[in-house]
């Protein structure tokens, strides 16, 4: 029967530690999803606010389905690319995509299925909370940029609550700077 010396055990444990540290750190979020959906949700909220303020005609709302189509197409293409290398995704990466799609999916479902309960700003607020959950999940894995951006989103929610005349602007700013901003920072940093 083979035995092991303490020096070998130390060497082996160090190697295992190096491998685990590398693989546990590998939560790569990519930036495209955040930019696309951050811009889309900010555009929806901003357009709604501009219509309420009578700064643009309600006929301008036609641009929103077009923006939604762009967001879906970009997400589908990017999702397809990631799906091809799904085998190599770490478990934490899979967990991240689950959190992403469950949070945003539930927000989208709530906004559509309960549109009478959660009208205009309430639906935007739900979207903000769902996006903040995604950012805080990333932050929980040691990403300080996500923490800062999540706080920006929650800050925009509180600001919107206390500025009834500017609710849409505040929420749109949170989506743009918090969500799309995080995507841009992640792309630049290659996270």
């Amino acid at each position: 029967m083979e035995t092991m010396h303490a020096s070998d055990a130390r060497d082996h444990i160090e190697m295992v530690d190096r491998i685990l540290t590398r693989s546990e750190r590998s939560l790569r979020v990519g930036g495209e999803f955040f930019i696309v959906w951050g811009i889309f949700s900010a555009a929806v909220t901003l357009t709604a606010q501009l219509v309420v303020d009578r700064r643009i005609a309600s006929g301008s709302l036609w641009v929103l389905p077009a923006l939604l189509a762009v967001a879906i197409v970009v997400s589908a293409i990017r999702g397809g690319q990631l799906g091809k290398r799904k085998d190599g995704l770490s478990l934490i990466q899979r967990e991240f995509f689950s959190v992403l799609w469950i949070s945003l999916g539930l927000a989208a479902f709530t906004d559509v299925a309960a549109y009478r309960i959660f009208s205009t700003w309430a639906s935007s607020a739900i979207w903000t909370v769902a996006a903040a959950i995604v950012l805080f999940f990333i932050a929980a894995h040691g990403n300080r940029k996500a923490l800062a951006c999540g706080i920006i989103m929650l800050g925009s929610l509180v600001a919107a609550n206390f500025m009834p005349s500017y609710t849409g602007y505040a929420l749109a700013a949170g989506m743009l700077f918090g969500y799309a901003g995080f995507g841009l920072i992640s792309l630049i940093a290659h996270d």
Partner: protein
């Protein structure tokens, strides 16, 4: 100590698979920096012991062999690392 995991390469393979689902042979070769034949022999032993599951799939019409850690492999890894830690504790105590 788990005799199968006394090999640094086999232990490294298990550690590589701990946080991921399926990993291809070429990715493992890159991670462990071993030759094709050497890694193949080590992987065969781990599969035979039930520590790894092996699957052959086609990606873009090319055959690909990939591996996943089994529950048995995970338990063996945890027990082996615990044994190594005990050995180090014993050494530092003496």
């Amino acid at each position: 100590m788990d005799e199968l995991l006394l090999s640094k390469i086999r232990l490294g393979v298990i550690a590589e698979l701990l946080n991921v689902d399926w990993v291809t042979f070429s990715d493992l070769q890159q991670a462990t920096q071993t030759t094709h034949g050497n890694l193949g022999a080590h992987l065969a032993k781990l599969v035979e012991a039930g520590y790894l599951a092996e699957e052959k799939v086609f990606v873009n019409r090319r055959p690909q062999t990939r591996y996943r850690l089994t529950k048995t492999g995970r338990a063996a890894f945890v027990a082996h690392v615990r044994d190594m830690q005990r050995l180090l504790e014993k050494e530092s105590a003496s």
